[in-house]
């Protein structure tokens, strides 16, 4: 009760004589380790004399938060900072405009410490309008070390090798692949295959440029064929299973592998498992690195205090200290490249090394499944086809045709 009063008084008193920085922050990191990670930012913000108003809205990977954001923007009181990522940042910029945080970025030399590709996501028409907090790698394969050792399985370097390993496990009575039948999980596996089988150029043509020829190509048919093969490695009860229950299957030895972003690591670590001893993190077969960068965008707000708050927040988000603490909590790696990784685990170190290597040769690519590559309507159209394919006996020929049609309908 007290804190509610405090929070509402803070809101009403939001126009003080001297400009003390204040910020209302809309985010969907509301529970467990994620909430604790945001709390770190809040503490730093308060320590610098700022007033933080928390506006948490969880659900559906940010869907509910986006609903609330629309309502707030229509009502004419957009929050100062909003958890937004990928092309949605530029989309909002076109609709409502976003605040320019260029001077913060300039003072703190963001351009030097961010990989140029990630920095691009933070800019709206060449001005800085968002600040990144982390980098998640998507195309990981997680495995149960005991099971893999017992069956003599080494890291697969191609999908054929993966299939061979899976057949071996299946023969041994182990579910080869733990998977949850939710559309974003289907999409995660799909994009991993698009990159793994087609390579970076194909991924770019198909899932970033939405090139109709790429979408209906033979390579795309192979991707769907492999997706069908993987479906055969998943147990029958996968529908609607949360990703973390799938991770638990790997942990408990019910299943051998899971294809999932590196938040799965958090689940292993929370259960006291050690990377390299109890579980392995292998980059999925094929060349390239799919990333998901979480970030905060800054809406245009009135009042000196709020604008000060935005600037302070932007500075802190990109601060090395916050980037380290936050990502240790969350399982991802810092967006800035100059943070020492000594305290991070081996999976994170590998993620970082791969990111730097792949940034050089053009195989560092945005994840479509996690809203980094496409606008919502188009990503949704692709996911509809993928998830329908995975949950039916559609042929790969039909799938590529539907894919091209669905994408064309959103243009």
């Amino acid at each position: 009760m007290k804190s509610v009063l405090a929070a509402s008084t803070a809101m009403f008193l939001a126009a003080p004589a001297m400009a003390e920085p204040s910020a209302e922050v809309l985010h969907w990191w509301t529970s467990g380790g994620e909430a604790k990670s945001v709390a770190v930012l809040q503490d730093q913000f308060k320590a610098e004399g700022g007033t933080w108003t928390d506006m948490p809205v969880a659900g559906g990977g940010g869907d509910a938060a986006m609903t609330a954001l629309r309502a707030r923007v229509l009502a004419g009181n957009a929050p100062a900072a909003v958890q937004l990522k990928g092309p949605a940042i530029q989309e909002w910029y076109e609709e409502t405009g976003l605040a320019d945080i260029g001077d913060v970025a300039g003072e703190n030399g963001w351009a030097e410490v961010l990989p140029p590709q990630l920095a691009e996501h933070m800019k709206c028409e060449d001005q800085w309008c968002a600040a990144p907090v982390n980098v998640h790698r998507i195309n990981w394969i997680w495995g149960n070390k005991q099971i893999l050792d017992a069956n003599g399985i080494a890291m697969p370097t191609s999908w054929d090798e993966f299939n061979a390993a899976a057949e071996k496990l299946k023969a041994a009575g182990i579910t080869p692949l733990a998977h949850g039948g939710q559309n974003w999980q289907d999409a995660t596996v799909f994009e991993t295959l698009v990159l793994g089988l087609g390579g970076p150029d194909f991924y770019r043509a198909a899932l970033i440029d939405l090139n109709p020829e790429a979408l209906t190509s033979d390579t795309m048919k192979q991707v769907f064929d492999q997706l069908r093969t993987l479906r055969g490695y998943v147990d029958d009860n996968f529908s609607g299973r949360d990703w973390n229950l799938a991770t638990a299957m790997v942990m408990n030895g019910e299943a051998a592998f899971q294809i999932m972003g590196d938040w799965a690591k958090g689940e292993f670590l929370a259960a006291g498992k050690v990377p390299g001893t109890d579980f392995v993190c292998w980059p999925a077969p094929g060349d390239g690195y799919l990333y998901n960068v979480d970030s905060f965008a800054f809406f245009e707000v009135e009042g000196e205090d709020k604008q000060q708050g935005q600037k302070l927040l932007a500075k802190l988000i990109m601060g090395p200290e916050f980037q380290k603490v936050f990502n240790l909590n969350k399982g991802s790696i810092p967006a800035r490249t100059d943070v020492a990784l000594d305290e991070f685990d081996d999976c994170a170190k590998q993620s970082n090394a791969d990111m730097n290597a792949d940034a050089g040769d053009g195989s560092l690519l945005p994840s479509y499944a996690h809203g980094m590559a496409l606008r919502g309507a188009q990503a949704g159209a692709v996911t509809d086809v993928v998830t329908n394919f995975f949950n039916s006996d559609m042929s790969s020929d039909d799938a590529v045709q539907q894919l091209a049609d669905a994408v064309a309908a959103t243009m």
Partner: protein
């Protein structure tokens, strides 16, 4: 003064009138407008034509959603009515501890499905719930895997929906049974008419208005069914359990395809109109007993 006196009833209704006009019909009008535009993330107001409706008709996912609405709606309404009526009649047989049973039947209506969704998900999941439990008892071949079969999953949504609403329907029917004139029933019993005949020939026909009320409450729940699907299947497997309400929400809020969402909303509204208007007509036509 006399004018005021005479017009008090209308003046009293005026605020509601204005509110409904703006917040229901005004908003429907707004939606109709937006459905004719190319609105994406936020509403835009340049009329573009019926393109959004064309996309809707061409979308296989919308097809599934509409089919589901009719399957789900019909089954949900019929089963809830049958179960509700049956429980009401059974409870009406001077049952001991009727109060406890009635409360148990009624309580699901008090819970939002955000709350019960997860437990339903577990119960219906073949690897975790009923199937696993019954197999654990030694019936190895027992199968109950509707949740994971795209062509059957919509029926699990029906089960959870019936669970939630049938107790409420039971209450409506029980109230109806209790308000039937006891004199008539006693007279029939004296004449030696068997109990089941008394129900089918005398009591149930007098409850016609209750069937109508129950129908309207259930139809309202069916069309608005949203939490249910989100909590139970989130539209899956694939999009096999999508309903128009979830389709609309996905388009409007997760995908930033507002024009498409508005078009789907208008189709939904037309379905509602087709169902509700005949009801309102029958409900409001001049009555003989007044």
């Amino acid at each position: 003064m006399e004018w005021l006196e005479r017009n008090v009833p209308k003046l009293v209704l005026a605020p509601s009138f204005v509110a409904i006009l703006v917040f229901v019909y005004g908003f429907i009008g707004w939606t109709a407008w937006v459905s004719l535009t190319k609105s994406k993330l936020m509403p835009r107001y340049e009329i573009d034509g019926f393109g959004q409706y064309g996309r809707l008709v061409a979308s296989p996912r919308w097809d599934v959603a509409m089919d589901n609405l009719f399957i789900f709606g019909a089954l949900f309404i019929v089963i809830s009515m049958v179960v509700g009526l049956m429980l009401a009649i059974f409870l009406d047989q001077q049952i001991r501890s009727e109060g406890v049973l009635r409360t148990i039947y009624l309580y699901p209506m008090a819970l939002s499905l955000i709350v019960t969704g997860t437990s339903w998900k577990w119960i219906l999941n073949p690897g975790l719930g009923i199937q696993e439990m019954v197999r654990g008892w030694g019936f190895e071949s027992f199968t109950f895997d509707w949740l994971i079969r795209p062509e059957m999953a919509i029926y699990t949504v029906v089960i959870a929906a019936v669970w939630q609403a049938s107790g409420f329907v039971m209450a409506l029917f029980l109230a109806g049974l209790r308000s039937v004139d006891t004199e008539i029933i006693r007279a029939a019993q004296v004449d030696g008419i068997p109990t089941h005949r008394i129900y089918t020939a005398i009591i149930i026909p007098t409850m016609a208005p209750i069937f109508l009320s129950a129908f309207i409450v259930l139809a309202h729940l069916a069309i608005k069914a949203f939490d249910l699907v989100i909590a139970l299947t989130n539209g899956g497997p694939g999009y096999a359990t999508d309903l128009p309400a979830t389709y609309m929400y996905a388009m409007a809020f997760s995908r930033g395809d507002l024009g498409q969402a508005a078009a789907s909303a208008m189709i939904m509204m037309m379905v509602i109109f087709a169902i509700v208007v005949p009801y309102l007509y029958s409900e409001l036509r001049p009555r003989r007993d007044h």
